[in-house]
């Protein structure tokens, strides 16, 4: 992995009072993102606006495309043109992007997509919070594949995780998603942007060998395979069709197995390297509350109240949502009585928890149809009932 320090040009170092949307734009610039194609949609637009405002001084380019379909298509071109690229959207735009998320996965194109989630389905609650696209991000495009998704719980983490998203994306050559929500996106808090020399950035692994040996792909279920950019003389070809390592179409079941296994296993097989969790008093807990994004902050408040009542409650926060921490849940399910899963949807990630726990402990969904965060008392009640 080619790790360097950030280009100071993109780093607005110092303390800021900033919302999550703006912090995503700053994170992208710090990570070396120099091309942003997007389409306005509440509650994500502030990221695009920030990037557009900062782009000229950083030497980056922002383009507002005609829709979200065009935005993500432009990212694929932008990435193969040699830039680090990103876009940002919310539910309806995310649905439009699904087609070319598939192309990005298939052509192993690095990019970062932030989804500032709002209530759905359809136009739903444009200005109000939700976590309803957690399965869409994993399964929304057609065909079998795998991606990485991170979920920040604060504007600071929006900054930090956007950099991490770029780093993962460059190494694994896969779209990486920031799955945040209206609350975090619009919430202002202190964000400390470190000086450039303290920000670690993964540079694109550009192929430098002899032309005849160049292969845009290597189907070895690992990250780190070099890519190229247009104009460097390697005359690459990439396609959404099932292809060989040269990038040429080979449409056979055998080749599809080779490609698909690689696409899925480069993530699954490295899950323990990718996954980041935050745990608090999980060891020895009777009940663990598993949450992510804004809900984890509400959950911690409930956990604190429960502890005041003498209950042995742990808290587990998913920083990496996908790949899902199957192994950790499997282990936990043998030690705890119950896992309580509050989320601002009708029960999405809880399915993964149930699947991983496989009946070894109780799994309690504390769902919420969106538009607001949970009342901490509702989570507290679920904890109390689970402890009984």
């Amino acid at each position: 992995m080619n790790i360097v320090t950030a280009d100071p040009k993109g780093v607005d170092a110092g303390p800021h009072f900033m919302d999550g949307d703006h912090a995503i734009a700053e994170g992208a610039l710090a990570a070396g993102c120099r091309f942003f194609a997007g389409y306005p949609i509440t509650p994500s637009t502030e990221t695009a606006e920030r990037f557009a405002e900062r782009a000229p001084e950083v030497g980056a380019l922002f383009i507002q495309m005609e829709d979200e379909i065009a935005s993500i298509a432009a990212l694929i071109g932008g990435a193969w043109g040699g830039q680090k690229v990103m876009t940002v959207t919310s539910g309806p735009g995310f649905s439009l992007m699904m087609e070319n998320i598939g192309l990005a996965v298939m052509t192993e194109t690095p990019m970062v997509i932030a989804n500032v989630q709002r209530g759905g389905p359809s136009t739903g609650l444009p200005t109000l919070t939700a976590q309803q696209d957690m399965l869409q991000v994993r399964f929304g495009s057609h065909g079998d594949y795998n991606i990485i998704a991170l979920s920040p719980d604060s504007p600071q983490e929006c900054f930090d995780l956007t950099i991490e998203a770029f780093n993962l994306s460059e190494f694994y050559r896969v779209p990486v998603f920031i799955m945040t929500d209206e609350t975090v996106g619009h919430m202002h808090e202190k964000v400390v942007i470190p000086p450039a020399d303290q920000i670690k950035v993964v540079e694109r692994n550009l192929y430098k060998g002899p032309k005849e040996d160049f292969r845009p792909y290597g189907f070895d279920s690992q990250g780190g395979h070099p890519m190229t950019r247009a104009g460097d003389g390697y005359r690459f070809h990439i396609t959404g069709l099932t292809h060989n390592e040269r990038g040429y179409p080979v449409m056979t079941p055998e080749q599809n197995q080779i490609v698909l296994t690689h696409l899925i296993e480069k993530i699954n097989g490295n899950a323990d390297k990718i996954i980041r969790l935050e745990e608090d008093q999980v060891e020895g807990a009777e009940v663990v509350v598993l949450s992510y994004g804004i809900t984890s902050r509400i959950a911690v408040r409930a956990v604190q109240e429960a502890r005041k009542k003498g209950l042995k409650v742990g808290s587990l926060r998913l920083i990496t949502v996908w790949p899902f921490c199957e192994q950790r849940i499997r282990d936990l399910s043998q030690k705890v009585k119950a896992i309580v899963v509050p989320e601002i949807n009708y029960g999405q990630m809880v399915r993964e928890v149930e699947r991983s726990a496989a009946g070894r402990c109780q799994v309690v969904s504390v769902n919420h149809c969106g538009g607001a965060v949970h009342d901490p008392l509702v989570i507290l009640k679920a904890i109390e009932e689970a402890c009984r």
Binding site: P15, H16, F17, T42, P43, P126, T127, L128, E182, T183, H186, M187, H188, E189, K190, I294, R297, I298, V300, R301, Q304, V373, P376
Partner: protein
């Protein structure tokens, strides 16, 4: 742990959101506190009613929204009518004395009134009303220090109006100090 929840409210164009941003920035960057600022968005946030919230604490703020506001700043009649009821006993109610006609004396609340719009006009422009009110807020609540609030202004008010905004803030602040000393006119 000491947590204070503040609601700034008024009508669109008064600089209500700005008040919350300045307060949040002052607290989290210069007063060594944790502050989370949220606001209502969308059609309901455009036009007449406008509200922003700041939650301040010595520890990390977990729940970002207001549950039990300790302070309400209401710079319009509509904002006052809509929000005063959520203040618990002992809560601080700050209003513009010319813009808000109170329905009661609110004996259970600490009512603090300031002629913010009038002061702003005396400084040459109604647009400074929010800064006058913010100075007053700072003096009567003690939530943030005046120093931190003034430090927070660059970047949140246009550079060419920085001086006059500081002046407006100080005018409100002095009035607040006098008010608390019981000597306000």
């Amino acid at each position: 742990m000491s947590t204070t929840e503040i609601r700034f409210s008024g009508f669109g164009g008064q600089g209500i959101i700005r008040c919350a941003l300045i307060t949040g920035k002052a607290l989290s960057l210069y007063d060594n506190k944790f502050a989370t600022m949220t606001q209502s968005f969308g059609p309901e946030a455009r036009g007449s009613a406008c509200s922003a919230q700041v939650v301040v604490s010595d520890e990390r703020v977990l729940y970002p929204y207001i549950t039990r506001p300790g302070v309400l700043m209401a710079l319009s009649q509509e904002a006052y009518d809509k929000y005063w009821g959520e203040l618990p006993d002992g809560g601080i109610l700050i209003t513009d004395e010319d813009l808000v006609k109170m329905g009661s004396d609110h004996p259970n609340l600490a009512v603090r009134r300031v002629p913010a719009t009038r002061f702003a006009e005396s400084l040459g422009n109604r647009l400074f009303t929010n800064l006058v009110a913010l100075g007053f807020f700072t003096a009567v609540t003690g939530v943030a220090t005046a120093d931190a609030m003034k430090k927070a202004l660059p970047g949140l008010v246009p550079g060419r109006f920085l001086k006059i905004n500081i002046k407006a803030f100080e005018k409100g602040y002095e009035h607040g100090v006098q008010c608390m000393a019981g000597s306000a006119p």
